[in-house]
Amino acid sequence: MKWWLAGAMVFVVLTLVGSFADPYFISLMTIVLLFTFLGQSWNLMLGIGGQLSIGHALFVGLGAYSVGVLYVKYGISPWIGLFLGMIIAGSVGAALAWLSFRFEVRGIYFALLTIAAAEFARLMFSGWEFVGAMQGLFFPAPTGAIEFSMLRGGARFYYFVALALAALGIIGTGLISRSYLGYVWRAMRDDEPAARALGVRTFRHKILVISVSAAAAAAGGGVLGLVQGSIFPDSIMGMGLSVDVLIGPVVGGLGTTFGPLIGSLAAIPLNHLMSAIGDNLRIPGLNNITYGIVLILVVWFLPDGIWPAIVRLCKAIQAPSRLWLPHLRKAEE
C-alpha cells in the first residue's frame, strides 16, 4: 500500500513542479515523462511479456505520423490521430508477432525482425512524398492558447499531457501486472512450455502483449511529435529512438512499475547535460560515450536496475532484523 502513497506524492510534486518551474526545466521534464511512458510500453513487452523489441521506434513513428498527417494535411484533431495511430501500430505489431511466432521463431530472431521492420519503415517514410519524405512534417507554431479538443497548447500544457500519460502508463502497468493477463504473461515469460502445458494459449498471448505495447508506444509517439513540433523519419523512426526508449526501463529496472520513471529521470537529463558539455567543448560524441558507459556499467553492476536497488535499501533500513539475522546465525554456529 505504501508504494501507492509514494507514487501519489511523486505525482503531486510533479504537478507542483509543472505549475511553478521555469520553461527549460518544464521542457526537459516533458521529455522525461514522455520517455517514461514509452519506456513503460517497452517494459510491458520485455519485462512482463518476455519479448525483446529493439525496433520500438517503428511504433512510436507510426503514432507520430498518424497524428501529424491527419492534423497537418487535413486539420483533423490529434485525438483521432492518436486513436488511429494506436490501431495501426497495434495491427502492425500483431502482424510482426504473427509472422515471427507462427514458426516458433523467437528470441534473437524476433528482436532482429523488429529492427529490420523499423529500418524498412524509416526508409519507406524517407522516400514517401505524401508524408513529407526527408523534409518532414511541421505542426503550425503553437499560439499559446489551450485547445483541449485539438490537443494544442503551450509548453506547460504539454507538460501536463505528458504527466497524465506517464501516470496512466504507471497505473496501467501496475493494474495489468496484477491482473489475470499479467500473471499469464509473466508465466509465459518465465517458462513458455510450462505455461502452455497449463492451458495458456501462448501464441495468442504473445501477439496480444506485443500489440498492446505497440499501441501504447504509438500513443506516446503521437504526443512526442506534437511536443517536438516536427516529425522527421530519421529522428522519430531511427535506431537512436529505439535505443532511447529502452534506456529508461533498463537503467531504472526491467519489469518494475516505477523503473522507467526512475531510469528516465536519471538518463535523459544526463544525456542533455553531456550533449550540452559536448557542444560547448566541440566534442560531438561525448554523450554517446557516457550513454554507452552507463548502459554497460548498469548491466554489469546493477543488472536489476536502480529501482530494485532502492527498494532493497529501503527494506534493509526498515527491517534491520532481517538484515542482521544471517549474521547472528553465523555467530551462533
Binding site: 521463431v105 528470441g107 530472431y109 554507452g292 558507459i293
Partner: protein, 289 residues
C-alpha cells in the same frame, strides 16, 4: 542493355563477397558464443579508418592495410571479449543486447571524438582504374576487395574445418558443456572466436575503404546490413553468411538500377521480410536458437 545488367550484376556480386565476409564475422561469433554482436558495424568502420590512415600515412596498398586491420582488430576483439563480453555470455539475451548497444554507442562516440563527423575519402590509385572483360567492365578496387574477401572466406573455412583449433571451436559451438568436460579451454576459444569475428569485420572495412568514405555514421548501416545478411543466410551458418552476402549485394545493385536510390537501401529489408515469411530461419539456419 544486356551489358548494363551484366555490369550491375557483377558489381553486386563483388560487393556481395565483402558483405559475406562482414556477415561471416557476425555469424561465427553468434554460432560459437550465442551472442549477437550489435557493435559489428563499428568494427567495420574501425577497419575503414585503419584503411584510410594506412593509405594516407604510409601510402601502402589496400591489401597491406587489410592485413594491418586484421591484426589490430583481432587483438581488439580478443581483448574486448576477455575484459567485457565474457562477463555477459551466460546472461539472458536482452542483457547482452543492451551491453552491445552500450558498446556500439561507446565506439561510435570514440570515433566521433577522434575523427569528427566529416567523411574522409580514401584516395587510392586503384579507385579510378578498371579492367574490361568483354561484356563487363570491373572497377579494380572492387575486384581486389572481392577477391581478397573470397580468398579469406575460403581460408577461414579450411582453417575451421581442418585445424585443431577449428575443431575446438566447432566443438564449443555444438556443446559448450561437453567441450568443458573434455578439457577445452572454453574462455580462450571464446576470446579467439570474438577476435576472428572482429578481424573479419575489420578486414572487410579496410577492403572497402576505397569505395566508401570513412565516416562514423556508417556504422549503423553496416550493423543492420550484417544483421539482414545473416538472417537471410541463417544465423550461425558459414555458407549461409556467404550466400546471404551475395544475395544482398546483388539485390542492392539491382534495386539501384531499377528504382530510386532510397529504394536501394530499403530493398534488403523487404527481401528479409519476404524470406522470413517463407523461410523463417534463413537458407541455412540452425534449428534451435
Amino acid at each position: 542493355m544486356l551489358s548494363l545488367w551484366l555490369n550491375v550484376l557483377a558489381s553486386g556480386i563483388l560487393l556481395g563477397l565483402v558483405y559475406g565476409l562482414v556477415a561471416l564475422g557476425l555469424s561465427i561469433i553468434f554460432g560459437v558464443m550465442r551472442v549477437v554482436n550489435f557493435a559489428h558495424g563499428e568494427m567495420v568502420v574501425f577497419g575503414v579508418y585503419i584503411g584510410y590512415w594506412a593509405v594516407r600515412l604510409w601510402n601502402v596498398p589496400i591489401i597491406v592495410a587489410a592485413a594491418i586491420a586484421a591484426v589490430v582488430m583481432f587483438f581488439f576483439g580478443y581483448l574486448l571479449e576477455a575484459v567485457i563480453v565474457k562477463r555477459f555470455v551466460n546472461r539472458p539475451h536482452h542483457y547482452q543486447f543492451i551491453v552491445f548497444i552500450g558498446l556500439s554507442l561507446l565506439f561510435s562516440g570514440v570515433l566521433l571524438v577522434a575523427f569528427g563527423p566529416d567523411p574522409r575519402p580514401t584516395a587510392s590509385q586503384l579507385s579510378f582504374r578498371t579492367v574490361s572483360l568483354g561484356f563487363v567492365t570491373l572497377d579494380l578496387a572492387r575486384l581486389q576487395a572481392a577477391i581478397t574477401a573470397g580468398v579469406l572466406i575460403a581460408l577461414l573455412g579450411v582453417y575451421l574445418r581442418f585445424s585443431s583449433f577449428g575443431r575446438a571451436l566447432r566443438a564449443a559451438a555444438d556443446n559448450r558443456l561437453g567441450g568443458l568436460v573434455v578439457g577445452l579451454n572454453i574462455p580462450r576459444v571464446y576470446a579467439v572466436t570474438f577476435g576472428i569475428g572482429a578481424a573479419c569485420a575489420g578486414v572487410a572495412g579496410a577492403l572497402i575503404s576505397p569505395l566508401f568514405d570513412a565516416q562514423p555514421y556508417l556504422a549503423v548501416d553496416f550493423t543492420l546490413l550484417a544483421f539482414v545478411t545473416v538472417i537471410v543466410g541463417g544465423l550461425g551458418s558459414f555458407s549461409g553468411a556467404l550466400l546471404g552476402g551475395l544475395v544482398i549485394g546483388v539485390a542492392e545493385a539491382i534495386a539501384a538500377l531499377m528504382f530510386t536510390p532510397s529504394m536501394k537501401t530499403a530493398l534488403p529489408y523487404a527481401l528479409l521480410i519476404i524470406i522470413l515469411i517463407f523461410r523463417p530461419r534463413g537458407f541455412f539456419g540452425a534449428k534451435e536458437i
